[in-house]
């Protein structure tokens, strides 16, 4: 409420007080006149009238003094208010000015000087159009016309020209000013400098443009949209055209169908489940699925993103990225197919191998039967000739028949050795802890029994343990010890040592003799079937034994090697995998 205005209640009180005081005085005068007749004197009635009058006049005096004081205070208040308003106008950063309805500037504050560059002295009395850029002059009549109609113009965005000629963006608030009779006589204008705002706005626009450029360069489609089955997109980057063959404009707000409907029907459930779970657990979601990108055309895409609204919100808003992973999927599929084919191939090869093994077994069976029978014939009938017709054979004839018998015997041994090799390679292994020391000693006992005259110096380390198939390892020990026994046969003081070294790789067992040995240059031939390093006349043998030994050691995942010197003995080393170690 303006302080200049009369408060109606206060005014009524004043009037009422004045009327009461007046009435009081009138009553006093009437009483005085009534009693001031000829018989008047200083009667009690006269004195009462005078008393009443005096009281009334005193009250009137008090009231007048009070009213005058109030008037003074009000006047002081009005002056204070005006000063305050002036101070506000003066200190305002906004330009505040007034003009009459003809467009002449009447007042001009410091803010106006700051904005437009003119001092009050320079501009007051000038036309308002001084401040309007030349190309916008025609907006003035329109504004004045609206003001004349009593309209208030608020937040009017336009441009003004300063004293220095700079065109600045401003926001105007223009209000009509009325005289006490309510006639519009002028207008006040508050103009705000919008340069900083405009600059900020420009900056935002620029960074938004940058962002959009960036988005449009992202491989794939950046989006913002709802989490429901429709996946209504409020923003989609330009990548949608390449990814889905739909422009971002058409995809946004489901203008030509929703994104949700492009998702393959078989994949929709899993996608929605993943998104729902991600929202529930406030984690990013990630899914791979198929989308339609034309008639009967499907692409594999990977979508990842995050819900930007809280889980409790009614509508969930998602932001994320969808990229084409069709090529990757195709490669994965190809790899899978190849793997599958590899497995099939392996199965096929395994079957072939099994067949080959079965054939080998059949072959071994026939070798053992069919090849041995003719040998028996050769040997038997040579013998029969020698026995039945001795008188018809000369020495050479007998010699030839003996050669036939020896050759057939030899071949029989070879066939047996080969069969043994084959059996050792095929036979199923049943491994367990072995007392190697005991096994070595058993074999040596047997050798001593068969050849009791030999004086052999033998040392076997106590407590040697190994893990292997008892039957196969027995064959290994038999072959190696028999060899040692055989190749030391021509010595006066033969010796065999069987010991074990502990190394980082495990136990290394070795069997050492001081026998014939051999030249290490031929060591690589030692384990090959039928390769012999000694003449049969010196040391008989088939040349298959060490091949069998090597095969058994390899089946156990171990290694075998040899160190030797011509006429200075040899040492066979071998390892066996420990229990629990992986097989070959």
């Amino acid at each position: 409420m303006s302080e200049n205005e009369e408060n109606p209640i206060l005014a009524f009180q004043h009037r009422f007080t004045a009327i009461c005081a007046g009435l009081w005085c009138a009553v006093a005068v009437l009483v005085f006149i009534e009693n001031a007749g000829p018989a008047a004197g200083k009667t009690p009635e006269t004195l009462f009238g005078l008393g009443l009058l005096a009281t009334g006049l005193a009250f009137l005096g008090w009231w007048s003094a009070r009213s005058f004081k109030q008037l003074l205070i009000r006047q002081q208040n009005t002056q204070y208010t005006q000063a305050r308003l002036a101070a506000i106008v003066d200190s305002s950063k906004d330009a505040i000015l007034s003009k009459d309805l003809n467009g002449f500037i009447q007042t001009w504050n410091a803010g106006a000087q700051q904005l437009y560059g003119y001092t009050a002295e320079e501009i007051v009395g000038q036309k308002i159009s001084t401040l309007v850029p030349p190309h916008m002059k025609d907006e003035i009549p329109n504004i004045l016309e609206r003001l004349a109609r009593g309209e208030m113009i608020g937040e009017y965005q336009t441009k003004r020209i300063t004293k220095s000629g700079e065109i600045v963006p401003v926001s105007l608030c223009i209000s009509p000013v009325r005289d006490p009779h309510g006639n519009i006589v002028a207008a006040s204008t508050v103009a705000r400098d919008m340069r900083a705002y405009q600059a900020a706005l420009d900056k935002i626009t620029e960074s938004e443009t940058h962002l959009r450029t960036l988005m449009s360069n992202v491989i794939g489609m950046v989006y913002r949209g709802t989490a429901d089955a429709d996946r209504t997109m409020s923003y989609v980057s330009r990548g949608s055209l390449e990814l889905l063959a739909i422009s971002s404009e058409d995809l946004m707000n489901n203008r030509k169908g929703s994104y949700g409907h492009l998702v393959h029907a078989d994949d929709r459930g899993a996608l929605q489940d993943e998104i729902a779970d991600a929202i529930q657990n406030e984690r990013p979601y990630r899914a791979e699925y198929r989308v339609n990108c034309g008639p009967d055309q499907w692409k594999w895409v990977r979508e990842q993103g995050r819900c930007i609204s809280t889980p409790k919100t009614e509508e969930h808003i998602l932001e994320g990225l969808i990229v084409d992973v069709t090529d990757q999927k195709n490669f994965e599929e190809k790899i899978r197919t190849l793997n599958l084919r590899l497995e099939t191939d392996v199965e096929e090869r395994t079957r072939e191998l099994e067949t080959a093994n079965a054939e080998l077994e059949a072959f071994c069976y026939s070798v053992s039967h069919d090849l041995r029978s003719p040998l028996r014939g050769l040997h038997g009938f040579s013998q029969a000739l020698l026995e039945d017709y001795p008188d018809r054979l000369d020495d050479r004839g007998v010699d030839y028949l003996n050669r036939i018998r020896t050759a057939s015997m030899k071949m029989g041994e070879l066939i047996d050795a080969l069969l043994e090799l084959s059996r050792m390679s095929r036979q199923e292994m049943h491994r367990k802890e072995l007392n190697l020391t005991g096994m070595v000693k058993d074999r040596i006992r047997l050798l001593r029994e068969m050849d009791p005259d030999r004086l052999m110096d033998i040392h076997v380390q106590e407590g040697m343990q190994a893990y292997g198939d008892p039957e196969l390892i027995a064959v290994v020990l038999a072959n190696l010890l028999d060899n040692a026994w055989k190749f030391t046969s021509k010595l006066d003081r033969p010796s065999i040592r069987c010991e074990c070294n502990d190394t980082d790789e495990g136990h290394v067992f070795y069997i050492r003799d001081n026998g014939a040995g051999f030249d290490m240059a031929y060591a690589d031939k030692l384990f090959t079937a039928f390769q012999r390093l000694h003449k049969t006349s010196e040391f008989p043998g088939t040349g298959v034994g060490l091949t069998t030994v090597q095969r058994i050691i390899h089946r156990h995942g171990g290694e075998i090697w040899v160190e030797a010197e011509q006429n200075a003995g040899c040492t066979f080393y071998f390892t066996l995998r420990n229990k629990g170690a992986k097989d070959e």
Binding site: Y365, S368, H369, D370, R372, S373, P374, L375, R376, G377, H379, G380, F381, S382, Q383, A384, R405, S408, M409, M411, G412, D416, L419
Partner: protein
């Protein structure tokens, strides 16, 4: 001792001759009946086929049986022998070139009395024949033949 005879089931003529020679040398048995395959052996034992007119109550004292035979193999022959009342208790010695464990297991499970691998060396072979002949033909007491058919 004259009624004792051996049935030799062997398809290889060399092995047949060598076996016969060994028996002759050691004078263990006078008569050796030879069957050239499994079918022939069964026909002889049960008086069928070309042996239809044979008296099947007269059975050999010992059967030497090779495993690898044409038509019906040794195991099959052995099974028939063990499944028939007339031959159930006849001593059958498998005489073969095979040393395969599988064959040995199968041989014994079919009811072989013994399993001998033919050695290549004739002297060994001859010795084997002598020993098994001596044991089965002379030392061993067989069940009595039931005699000729009434």
């Amino acid at each position: 001792m004259n009624d004792k005879f051996v049935l030799l089931v062997e398809d290889n003529p060399d092995d047949r001759e060598l076996a016969c020679r060994a028996f002759r040398q050691h004078k263990i048995v006078n008569h050796i009946e030879v069957a050239e395959d499994g079918r022939d052996a069964l026909d002889f034992l049960f008086g069928e086929g070309r042996h239809a007119d044979r008296d099947d109550s007269i059975q050999p004292t010992l059967i030497l049986l090779d495993l690898k035979l044409p038509r019906i193999d040794g195991f099959e022959v052995l099974r028939h022998i063990r499944n028939d009342e007339r031959t159930r208790y006849l001593p059958v010695v498998i005489l073969t070139s095979s040393r395969e464990e599988e064959d040995r297991v199968k041989g014994y499970s079919c009811g072989a009395n013994s399993y001998i691998r033919k050695p290549v060396e004739f002297n060994e072979f001859s010795e084997a024949i002598r020993q098994l002949g001596l044991y089965w033909m002379i030392l061993n007491e067989p069940l009595p033949n039931r005699g000729p058919k009434p």
